[in-house]
Each structure stands twice: as C-alpha cells, then as structure tokens.
C-alpha cells in the first residue's frame, strides 16, 4: 500500500516540501495569507482528482462543479446537524459526492466523446438550477447554506454548551481557519496526491491510460471498460467532493454558484494549463489561476504606476493604460489570452514546456558527452532513451 517507486517517492517528497513551505515562498509574491493559501491547497486537490478522470482516461467532464457543490453542502450539513469536526464533514462530503458521482457517471458513461461531455454538463446544470430553486430547503438558494446559532449539532452539544456566537470548525481544539486551516487542507492535498500517484502507477492506472489511448483495443483485449471508467469517475468525483468539503470547513458558507458550469470550465482550464495527464501539472495550473484570480484582480492603476515608475512619464502612463486592461476587473482577459496561447503553442501545458526545456539541456549535455567520448555510442541506453 505504501510502497512507491523511487522516482515517485522523490516527486512526493519534493511536492510535500513545496506545499508545506508555501506560506514562506509565497510571501514575496504577496500571496501568503491564509485565505488564499487554503484555496491553493483545495483547488490543487480538485485538479489532481479531475486529472484522474480527464488526464488518464481522456473523458472530458463538464460536470465536476456539481460534485464540488455537493461536497460543500454535505459538509455544512454535517456541521449543522452533527458536529463541527472537519474529519466528519469530509467523510460526509466524500460519501455524498461519491453517491452523486456514481449516479451521474452511471448514466453519462453510456456515451463517449462530446456526448459524454454534454451529458455531464446537463446533469451539472440541472443540479445548479435545482439548487437555486426547488431544493432551497436544502441549499438555502441564493442566500447560501450557512451555520446558525440554533443548529442542532447533536454530537457537539452532548459535550459542550451552546455558545452565543457561531462556532468554527475545529480539529481537536485547533480552529480550521487561518494557517491551521491551510495546513489541514495541505495534508489532505498530500494524501490525495499520494493516492493519485499510486493510481497512476498501478495496473488500474494503466488500464485507464489504455482507454484514453485506444478504447476499442481495450475491448478487443478483454477489458470491460465500463466498471473501470465508472470507478475512475467516482474517485474523481469524490476528490471534487472533498475539495468542496474543505471549502466549507475553511469557510462554512456553501452557495449554488459553485455548481455552475463556469466552475467546471475553470477546472478544465487549470488542468490544461498545467498539463493534462501529468501529476504535478494540474496543481501548477490551479495555483496559477487562483493566483491570478486573487492577486491580479486586486491590482489597479496605482499598483501599475508603482510597477512601471522607472519608465519616463508619458510612456509610463501609456503602458499603465494598456496594462490596466489586463489586471483588476480585466484579469479574465489575461486568463483567456494565456489559455489560447497555451493551447496553440503548448498543447501539453506548462509541464510540456518544462519537458521541452529540460530536453534541450539534455541534448546539449549529450552533445558535449559525445565530444568528450566519441566511442561511447549509446547502444545500451538506446532502449531506455526516455
């Protein structure tokens, strides 16, 4: 269960270090406040899970926002009815999103290609519309589901008195807001990343890649692809549900807009931007998009003036005028442009860029080697070239 290859172990170790030291290395980038750090961890988890479906099997789901929403609602209801314990809330989120994903996946996976995408989109939109209208008793519609002083909280109230202010989710007395909340999310992210690594390097993961590569061949090779696909779909849905649960744990307010298709679209963007099918790529994609969304969108002209103050005055104001269209309110424009450029020039996302650059260095090194040692025609290494 815990044995992984050396390469995976190194990746995991480095990844853990990067995640756990985020409060430090994000400080110079102005992104080291708990609210944003929590989002980084949560959306990274969401993207890692989404990649298990889209990255490994190639099935493009436009419905994952629904699972995110279900997870959020389930977690808040667990707070309201039972306890402010975050672990219990996550179990709730996982179970409900899992059941939901099972139902939607069962139906949607009867079709493939764009038909699958449209089916998932339709289900997610239905969930969103219903959450806003007839399901208001459960979702509290436009106001969003939140905690109240009168909540039953059956388990908690057996042990403690009802307080006079709204409780916060806490884990053995540690409140889940602020940096503690971030570290809680970060640890869940690391667990999720580890599991994704395991899945990717398992025979199961290989089947999923086979489905992406040539689904027909899988069938003629004796694979019943349906249960494999459904399992991948449910796992991926549960990741989304847990991410939704974490959103509620760090901020117990769940709204229907989390289920809208634009939220699914954003998730697709993250995965593509970072690199579909790689483990780290989607995480990077999620971070970049969340960074833009939170930091870029807060920039305004005075920030830009500060930034470009080294330029001569009239050039400065021109540059600021142009660049102001791309930040603040206009950050979506940057996002869209970035997205187009990545798909056009780097279909494999940022990870492909990294690979290309490192390949370039490798080539240079190899070339040097050959000069130094011309007899060493790489016979034995040719098989393990990549």
């Amino acid at each position: 269960m815990f044995n992984i290859s050396k390469k995976d172990a190194i990746t995991f170790l480095l990844f853990s270090i990067v995640v756990l030291t985020m409060p430090i290395w994000l400080a110079p980038l102005g992104a080291s406040y708990p609210g944003l750090l929590q989002k980084f961890a949560i959306y990274a988890l969401l993207a890692v899970g989404y990649n298990i479906l889209f990255g490994l099997t190639g099935y493009l789901s436009f419905g994952h926002a629904a699972f995110l929403g279900v997870g959020s609602y389930a977690a808040v209801w667990s707070f309201k009815l039972l306890s402010m314990n975050p672990v219990l809330a996550l179990v709730f989120a996982m179970v409900f999103s899992g059941i939901f994903a099972l139902a939607i996946g069962f139906v949607s996976l009867r079709r493939s290609g764009i038909y699958f995408s449209i089916l998932t989109l339709a289900f997610a939109q239905m969930s969103y519309k219903l959450a806003y209208s007839v399901l208001s008793p459960i979702t509290h519609g436009e106001n969003g589901l939140q905690l109240t002083l009168q909540d039953p909280r059956a388990i908690d109230l057996m042990f403690i008195e009802r307080g006079s202010s709204l409780p916060v989710s806490s884990f053995f007395g540690i409140p889940m807001n602020g940096y503690a909340g971030f570290y809680f999310c970060a640890i869940i992210l690391l667990i999720g990343f580890f599991i994704a690594q395991k899945i990717t390097s398992s025979p199961f993961g290989m089947m999923l890649k086979g489905i992406k590569s040539n689904e027909d061949r899988m069938n003629y090779t004796g694979f019943n692809t349906k249960p494999y696909m459904l399992t991948a779909f449910v796992i991926s849905g549960m990741y989304a549900g847990i991410a939704g649960g974490l959103l509620s744990i760090t901020d117990p307010l769940a709204g229907a807009e989390r289920m809208q298709w634009t939220a699914s679209g954003e998730l697709v963007l993250m995965t593509i931007l970072g690199g579909v099918g790689t483990l780290v790529g989607p995480v990077i994609g999620a971070w970049i998009i969340k960074y833009f969304e939170n930091i870029f969108s807060a920039w305004n002209e005075s920030v830009l003036h500060g930034f470009f103050s080294f330029l001569p005055d009239n050039i400065e104001s021109f540059v600021v005028l142009i660049s102001s269209k791309f930040v603040g309110e206009g950050w979506h424009l940057t996002l869209g442009l970035m997205f187009v450029l990545v798909v056009v020039f780097l279909p494999g996302g940022i990870m492909e860029g990294v690979r290309r650059i490192s390949a370039m260095f490798k080539k240079n090194n190899d070339a040097e080697k050959e000069v130094i040692d011309p007899d060493n025609i790489p016979k034995s290494t040719s098989g393990k070239g990549e």
Binding site: M1, N3, I4, S5, K198, I199, S201, S202, P203, F204, G205, M206, M207, K209, G210, K212, S213, N214, D216, R217, M218, N219, Y220, T221, G222, F223, N224, T225, P227, Y228, T231, S382, G383, K384, G385, E386
Partner: protein, 257 residues
C-alpha cells in the same frame, strides 16, 4: 449444413451479414480445427474482415451464430469474447500509440487476469513480477527489445504489427485471428513475419489467417477457404484450392493487382 467435426474449436454456423442491401456475408459456414492454421483468402471486398468482425463481436450477424468450444459467442460483447480466448490482429494495427511498447504488452496480460474488473489501484506495476517477466520475454522473442520504452505510436508499420501480434500472444489465446498480417509490408518484413508465424504454428495454436499474399498462405496454411462476394466458393488444402477453376475465376478479375 452443419459440418462441424469432433475437433472443431470455432464453428461459424451459417452466418449472414447484410449492410443495407449489400450481402457482405452469405451462408458462411466454417469449422476451424484444433491446432490448425486455417487461411481465408478472397479478393478485396469479399467480406473477410467482416467475417472477423462478426467473430469478435464488433458486428452482430444478421443471421447465424458463432460457437467456440460449444459456447455461443454471438450476442456477447467483444471483451467477453476475448476472455473466452479469441484474440485478433487487425488489418491496420490497433495498438496503444501513447503507451510504451512494454505497457502495450503488459495491458493484455492484465486484461487476461483482471479484465472483468478488479480494484487493483494500489498495487504498483513493478510488483507484478510474473506478468512483467512474461511481457519482457515475448518482447525479446519478437525482437522489439531495443524499443521497449519507446512510445508505440513511433514504431514503424512492421514493428507495430509485430507488437500487436505480441499483444495477442501474451494472452495465450485459444484461437488467434489475423487480418492480413503482411499487408503493406516489405518483402523482408513479410518473411520475418512468416518465420514468426511458423514459430507460433509449432506451438500448436489454432489460427485463422486472412491473406492476400498467396506466398504466405501456401507456406503456412493447413486448410484454405476461399471467400468471394460473401460466399465460400471453395475449401481444401492449398493444392486443392490452387487447382480449383472457380478460384482462378474469382481471382482473375484481380489478376492485374
């Protein structure tokens, strides 16, 4: 019309297949015998690939059944038919282009064991020693060891086909179906493939081989059936078929090819 004999492995019983008004297969009755190499020849568009499609469950026959070892295949889905022991090499190689050659061969081996479904998501591939060894062995056997870590999509056409053959053989199928395994190959590649197929023949595996190239057919087949316009017009040993005037007539139209 049933002419299955005792040692029949696969019996195609009276199969019809129509596409709209076109009779792609009509009254096709074939008995494939245990351990034999059975060749099916015929001009282009005769219905040879369609016949294989019916056997592997890609197409449902309009009428008739296919029986393997007394079990009806018709109506089952492709993966079930494969699990019952039918493996196929396609006319244009069907492999996993994005996966490495090694993984291409591993996948069918996993399929043989866990094809129906198994939650083996926390095992690592490295821990599957037995399967990995078998895969490596067959890759070496097929002379693909130099490219074991290459993406299969980057292989030459000849290598792709050899890979596909390896993917089928690692499953140790009850019966192997080959759709024009030498089509589009150079003379040299064709000869290598013939040698490979002869080697397989020694192992006693039952094979159905569809061929255009007479040279291949006559050096391999124990029995030959000739398909023309969806019907079997002749059947027998290589020599018998060669001498049959009906066969010569069917091929005459193609003589220029």
């Amino acid at each position: 019309m049933v002419k299955a004999v005792n040692n029949t492995v696969l019996h195609v019983a009276d199969v019809h297949k129509t596409f709209g008004g076109l009779h792609a297969l009509a009254d096709v009755d074939l008995a494939i015998e245990e351990g034999k190499t059975h060749a099916i020849i015929g001009p282009n568009g005769a219905g040879k690939s369609t016949l294989l499609n019916v056997i592997v469950g890609k197409l449902a026959p309009t009428r008739g059944t296919v029986v393997l070892d007394g079990e009806v295949l018709t109506g089952k889905s492709p993966y079930e038919i494969n699990q019952m022991g039918v493996a196929r090499v396609f006319q244009t190689p069907e492999i996993f282009p994005e996966l490495s050659v090694f993984d291409n061969v591993m996948a069918p081996a996993f399929a043989k064991r866990d094809g129906s479904f198994k939650m083996n998501m926390f095992k690592s591939i490295e821990s599957e020693k037995a399967i990995a060894d078998a895969a490596e062995e067959i890759i070496v056997d097929f002379g693909l060891d130099a490219m074991i870590n290459t993406h299969a999509g980057a292989l030459s056409r000849g290598h792709k086909r050899r890979l596909e053959l390896a993917m089928c053989l690692i499953q140790k199928p009850r019966i192997l179906l080959l759709d024009e395994p030498t089509a589009g190959m150079s003379r040299h590649d064709t000869n290598t493939t013939i040698e490979l197929l002869k080697k397989i023949k020694l192992s006693g595996m039952t094979k159905v081989i569809i061929e255009h190239d007479m040279h291949v057919v006559f050096s391999l087949a124990d029995k030959v059936s000739v398909l023309a316009q969806g019907r079997i017009i002749a059947e027998g040993t290589s020599d018998e078929v060669r001498a049959n005037p009906k066969v010569q007539e069917a091929y005459l139209g193609e003589a220029q090819e």
